[in-house]
Amino acid sequence: MSLNRRNMVLLAAAALVLAGCGGQGGTSGTASGTASAAKVTVEWWNISTTEPLKSFWAQKVKEYQAAHPNVTIKNVPIENEAFKAKLSTVAQSGKTPDLYSTWGGGVLKQQIDAGLVKDLSSEAATWIADFTPAALQAYQFDRKTYAIPTDIGMVGFWYNKSLFTKAGISEPPATWTAFLEDVTKLKNAGVTPIALAGKEKWPGHYYWAYLAMRVAGLDALKQAAIDDDFTKPDFVAAGTHLKELVDLQPFQKGFLGAGYSTPDGQAATMGNGKAAMELMGQWAPVVEKDSGKGLGKDLGFFGFPAVDGGKGSTGDVFGGGGGYAVGVNAPPAAVDFLKYISQKDVHRAAVETGALLPVLKGEEEAVKDPNLAVVAQTLAGATGFQLYLDQAYPPAVGQEVNDSVAALIAGAKTPDQVAKAITETAKSE
């Protein structure tokens, strides 16, 4: 006991001395001026609470601090939903962390309008050019860039190849009509065609959003957000097409109460081979494996089919990513650290862990997983990009899209009512 205690005291003393040395080293090391010599702490809120990214970033923080002794990066990983709640609370008090995760779109726009976010356009101009336009899009407003992407992905159909074969479907459908026929074929073969998390609403909005992209086109979606008008015939048509699918009753039993990653949720249903497909983002294979058995080689990916007579291109993709925004009062070191974790070799290493997808130009071959490689290539060749509607629009409008589409899927709203409800909310914002 006494030895332990003595050791502890020794350790503490050593730590004190070391800390003192560290401080001195910092001041003597930077001769350029007193401002840069002063100790700086950068608080970094991110959502990398799971491996491999958790330890990857922790390592990068260590490396950065070793190179910049006067900077302390306070690495604060927070679980996704908790992060959103925590950030919205601090944002309402008029503050943000120095560096924090963002998904861009309407939520970021609200923070920008409130004067909380630093405009990175000129400060980061040289290295912003390295990113793909699709990855940057969610963070750019009025030609200014307010955040740096770290991940990008897209939504598409993940399907179970063996169940498709069982139903006699040789290749993934290319048009909506063929898609509906395949759903019927799957049903006739006794297979649940689609897994859906009806409780969580956001997975349902993917269908309406993609149909709106295919029928009305990307420009119409942008224009609708400006005019606050979603009642154009094309948007009602998107709802009608979704209703055609809903009328086939393609979803698993009790889907209205199903969560996404819960033990009996959408991902588990899919991952356990109890449904033939799900419309989901690039993270789907991981979650399928986490909450179910996972499909392994049976898992395939195809893009959202075209709609006959639609104005949108099949090359347009729907998705989103993650990035980091810098608080308006953050020290310059925050931008410098962001630059460090965004530079080619560091980000490439992050992509190689399999947890992130390429956001820098020419990074695609760093993706090892065959399914994710398909996603990365589709993204690289995309003709247009639409951010998740519940991110792109102001939160109230985005949630109304989720809510109304959920009601449509549950049979409680008509396509017309969906268009009107979204318009009404958009106008009141």
Binding site: L256, G257, A410
Partner: protein, 333 residues
């Protein structure tokens, strides 16, 4: 929030009329009394400051923001819209539905959950083997957190693999199998079932404690007068349990008005809002849609309903329980 606030001091504050507790003042005692007042104030100060900052101030702020259109960002709210948030709430079918569903839960709680708790409490008051064990067993659900209960029951009520449907299938009642939490028609019933499971133990303990405060002699006297066990219950136990029952009803109603976490975990208010409560709607608008002004208006309505109910209940129902204390004090004056 749904857990009945045992530490809630409002009932006492409200019933104790300002003059009620004051001891008689005599000139000789005045100096001592003034000093006593200083001491009392000093001791109360920390609690009063905390109460002011953490209870009164947020209520005031919520009332203030409820008359603005405000997304919570960019300093103080500036877009004054009067009572529009309130008219919007009462014109919104989801919010009006919240009120209706709240009422349903309250009525069901009083008519089913509380009588059930009372019955079990009476049973467990009998001399029987393993009585302590049963008391512990029935009280156990109340000790679990709402979130754990929610997760537990999403599994039990899951449509395919859930225990509930498995059992129904095993005993040949396949026709009764249902997607409990996924059907608008069954979700409220399922929710009430979970609520009952979670809270009946708490009310049971209240009743048990109340029952044990009733002197045995009263029952014996009634028995000598020829009362059967039902008559003893009806004319001796039940009236004497009155104060306990009235408090238990009060806690149950306030709990139902503020119900949030259990619903959030079980259904998130769905499907299509058919299990949404006021608190869930408030959360949706406040934190998901960032319409803080409107969410504040909903919270103010919730507060108003709770306050009016609490005051009315104090005035008309609980008064007789506290009256004795107050009248005896008055008698001294």
């Amino acid at each position: 929030m749904t857990r009945p606030a045992l530490t809630d001091v409002r009932p006492e504050i409200l019933t104790r009329s300002p003059r009620g507790g004051r001891p008689p003042v005599t000139p000789s005692a005045r100096g001592r009394r003034a000093r006593g007042l200083v001491t009392v104030t000093l001791f109360l100060l920390p609690a009063l400051v905390l109460f002011g900052l953490l209870v009164l101030a947020p209520i005031a702020v919520a009332m203030y923001t409820s008359v603005f259109k405000w997304n919570g960002l960019g300093g103080l709210p500036s877009d004054f819209i009067g009572l529009d948030n309130f008219t919007r709430a009462f014109g919104d079918e989801v919010f009006v539905g919240d009120l209706r569903r709240g009422l349903v839960l309250i009525v069901l709680s009083i008519l089913i959950q509380l009588p059930l708790s009372l019955a079990i409490a009476m049973l467990l008051n009998q001399k029987m083997r393993g009585r302590a064990f049963y008391r512990l067993l029935f009280f156990a659900p109340y000790v679990l957190s709402e979130v754990i209960t929610g997760v537990l029951f999403t599994m039990i009520l899951s449509p395919d693999t859930g225990l509930a449907n498995q059992i129904l299938g095993a005993v040949g009642l396949d026709s009764l199998r249902s997607s409990w939490l996924a059907e608008p028609s069954t979700v409220m019933m399922s929710l009430f079932l979970v609520m009952t499971w979670k809270y009946f133990g708490f009310h049971m303990i209240l009743y048990l404690a109340g029952r044990q405060g009733i002197p045995r002699e009263l029952g014996e006297a009634a028995a000598i007068d020829g009362a059967g066990s039902w008559d003893q219950f009806r004319y001796v136990t039940l009236p004497l349990l009155g104060p306990t029952i009235r408090i238990s009803v009060f806690l149950s109603v306030i709990g139902a008005i503020q119900l949030f976490d259990l619903v959030w975990v079980l259904t998130s208010g769905g499907p299509i809002h058919s299990s949404e409560t006021m608190a869930v709607t408030m959360f949706q608008f406040g934190f998901k849609r960032t319409q803080i002004g409107y969410a504040s208006a909903i919270s103010v309505v919730m507060f108003g309903i709770s306050l009016v109910f609490a005051l009315a209940y104090q005035r008309f129902v609980l008064r007789r329980d506290t009256e004795g204390a107050i009248t005896s004090m008055r008698g001294k004056r």
